[in-house]
Amino acid sequence: MKRGDFVAGAIGVAIGGGALFMAADFPADVVMKIGPAFFPDMLAGLFLICSAALMVSAALAKTVPGVVEDPPPVRGLSLENGILRAVVTVIAVIAFVVALRPVGFLITSTVFLTAMMGLLGLRKPVLMVAVSLGITAGVYIIFEKLLGLTLPAGILESVLY
């Protein structure tokens, strides 16, 4: 039993089934016979079959003894835990996006960068803030000044414009 593949197959079956279910509501094309549901139906059907095949092969597969990782992965609520760092990264990006409009790019980006560097184990405050400011300024100049695209100014609106 390969657990990862079994779960992946199950997710695939769910997606394929869901797509077939939704496509059943697409209007039929009376004139051309082949309407908007034709292609999705075909793909979702094939996807469902492949996913089911993956589930079956995963269920039948012999369990391979896990590779001993060196050094052993850290678990629990510690920044040494790699998976936790990835989860925190995703949450940090969401926070970045939520704050982007109201607070503005310049502040959000600097704070985000400094916090992320801290998360990834950098411990030199002056360097972290300086590099964060530099990267933020660089991105701002490229997008706002060179490309003429607008990034949210947020609370700095009156200062910047």
């Binding site: 990862g4 593949d5 992946a8 695939g12 997606i15 394929g16 797509a19 939704m22 496509a23 209007p27 094309d29 051309m32 016979k33 082949i34 309407g35 908007p36 034709f38 292609f39 999705p40 793909l43 979702a44 996807f47 492949c50 996913s51 095949a53 993956l54 092969s57 040494e80 790699g82 998976i83 760092r85 990835a86 990264t89 995703v90 990006v93 969401i94 970045f96 996006v97 982007l100 409009r101 790019f105 980006s109 985000f112 960068l113 992320m116 560097m117 998360l119 184990g121 950098l122 590099v131 964060s132 990267i135 933020t136 991105v139 490229i142 997008f143 490309l147 003429g148 695209l149 990034l151």
Partner: protein, 503 residues
């Protein structure tokens, strides 16, 4: 081949603004290529947003420069830290790192640059002469052939990427399903949009791209704490010695042809080209026993093939609109954003653009030679930049790049979703490039199949009435069957080389 037009195109490229963006693209490309964990695909994905609102020639030149630079850049970390900066440089590790250990890193780097230049230039020249020929054949294509072509392109990439054919097919089908999101091209009926008007035009391309190829890599990278260790060596050369060039001349010529040819096959990328070229060189060598201990021809074979591959991969992209690998798939997206749909029609309607692409890829190779030689000491230092600084910076670029085009935070969430999906897919051995190709080829396959069926009144036999289409479909099925047999062979070879990374 229109030489007057080619000459004229060089005139268009030799203007300060275009030369500047090519140089910028090449420098960024070498840096991204040299940094382990950042691939050429990721680089192009991150830089595509910088082309919004710029003229097509400038935008495409910059991305071509990046493509070209990244292919060479991978060799720097392959030689100095035994970690290929891009998958295409995996074969370079085999001879490059032993050379560095013997204190000859400068010699290896100079040869890598010279071979990359020769390979890249040959690939670009072959592309310039070949793709007009192919596109003139393709001008006869009807909807049925386009459908078959899309299926062929997908089947090849599915069969060649990843460890499992089943997972490759699943990734392709998943991408095709994603491509049906949005308004149906024929009837206009909105499919799978879940009430989100932002999805009406389908999943936004750039955010999807950045999510799959940049954010997913960052999520994998933030979990690693190990720092890379560089071999202590002096980078003392800018150009290979005459003796080294003489040893490697035949190898470079052979590698250029192998690379261009393999690059032109949709689905086969620089990694495979480099290994085939390396393997051939070792096979015909009078001293095969020297390989693995620092044979300079080995570096030349691998590096010229992976750079030639970039020219080769442009052939099907420009002439048929079918990208040869993941990077060219991203480039295809950049063309489309500029309002240019590669393929036979591009030759009919925008022949000037096509020739400008030829000219800029040739110029980009010269730029790579110059910038690579002058900046080698700097690039050798860049690879030591801490992950803790690099990864957050990539995330900021990803967010801004996804946001900027429509000024819509919805797009950033799309990016994040695809980042997480891409991360899990890669972790469980599902290849990502079939998704990207499916997103591009899916609408092409569907629209053309349905148009064909409209013409035939719903009769499927129309597909089998056109010989070229039947040929392409047979090739598609054939490539899937062949790959089941060949898969293990290629994978073992790649695994043997990438196994070096982990040590």
């Amino acid at each position: 081949m229109d030489f007057a037009l080619l000459y004229h195109s060089f005139g268009n490229v030799f203007v300060p603004s275009v030369m500047l963006v090519i140089a910028f693209g090449v420098a960024i490309g070498i840096t991204i290529g040299a940094l382990p964990g950042l691939t050429a695909t990721m680089g192009v994905a991150l830089l595509v947003p910088l082309t919004f609102g710029r003229p097509p020639l400038e935008s495409l030149s910059m991305l071509l420069g990046l493509f070209c630079g990244a292919m060479y850049g991978g060799s720097i970390s392959a030689i100095l830290v035994r970690t290929p900066g891009t998958p295409a440089a995996a074969a370079t590790v085999l001879e490059g790192y032993p050379l560095a250990q013997q204190g000859q890193a400068g010699r290896a780097l100079a040869m890598a640059l010279f071979a990359s230049f020769c390979g890249g230039l040959s690939g670009a020249l072959i592309m310039t002469f070949m793709s007009p020929l192919i596109s003139s054949v393709a001008l006869e294509f009807s909807t049925v052939e386009y459908f078959a072509l899309a299926v062929f392109g997908l089947s090849v990439i599915v069969s060649i990427s990843g460890n499992s054919i089943l997972k490759g097919i699943m990734a392709g089908l998943f991408g095709l399903l994603l491509s049906t999101i949005g308004a149906d091209a024929i009837s206009g009926y909105p499919r799978f949009i879940f009430g989100q008007m932002d999805l009406f035009e389908g999943p936004p391309f750039i955010p999807t791209l950045i999510g799959l190829f940049a954010v997913s890599e960052v999520l994998a990278n933030v979990q690693i704490t190990k720092q890379i260790v560089r071999v202590k060596t002096v980078v003392d050369r800018y150009f290979p010695t005459w003796a080294d060039i003489k040893i490697s001349a035949v190898t470079i010529a052979r590698g250029s042809l192998i690379g261009t040819f393999i690059g032109a096959i949709p689905g086969a990328g620089g990694d495979i080209a480099a290994f085939v070229s390396y393997g051939e060189t070792k096979r015909v060598s009078k001293h095969p026993e020297k390989f693995g201990t620092g044979a300079i021809e080995g570096v030349a074979a691998a590096e010229c093939a992976n750079n030639a591959c970039s020219g080769g991969a442009m052939i099907p992209l420009l002439s048929l609109g079918v990208p040869g690998d993941a990077v060219t798939a991203v480039l295809l997206g950049a063309f489309v954003l500029q309002g240019l749909q590669p393929g036979p029609l591009l030759y009919k309607e925008h022949i000037d653009i096509v020739y400008n692409v030829f000219a800029s890829l040739i110029v980009a190779n010269f730029a790579m030679l110059i910038i690579g030689a002058l900046g080698i000491r700097l690039f050798a230092k860049v690879i030591m930049v801490k992950r803790a600084i690099l990864m957050p910076a990539i995330l900021v670029l990803s967010v801004v790049g996804s946001y900027a085009m429509r000024g819509d935070t919805f797009d950033v969430y799309v990016m994040l979703v695809f980042g997480v999906v891409g991360y899990f897919m890669q972790k469980h051995d599902f290849p990502l490039s079939p998704i990207l190709l499916a997103l591009i080829l899916g609408p092409m396959a569907e629209a053309n199949l349905r148009r064909s069926l409209v013409i035939s009144g719903g009769d499927f036999s129309i597909i089998f009435s056109r010989p070229i289409a039947v040929g392409l479909l047979i090739l598609a099925v054939g490539s899937l069957i062949a790959s089941v047999y060949n898969h293990r062979k290629i994978q073992n070879r790649l695994a043997a080389a990438s196994g070096l990374e982990g040590e």
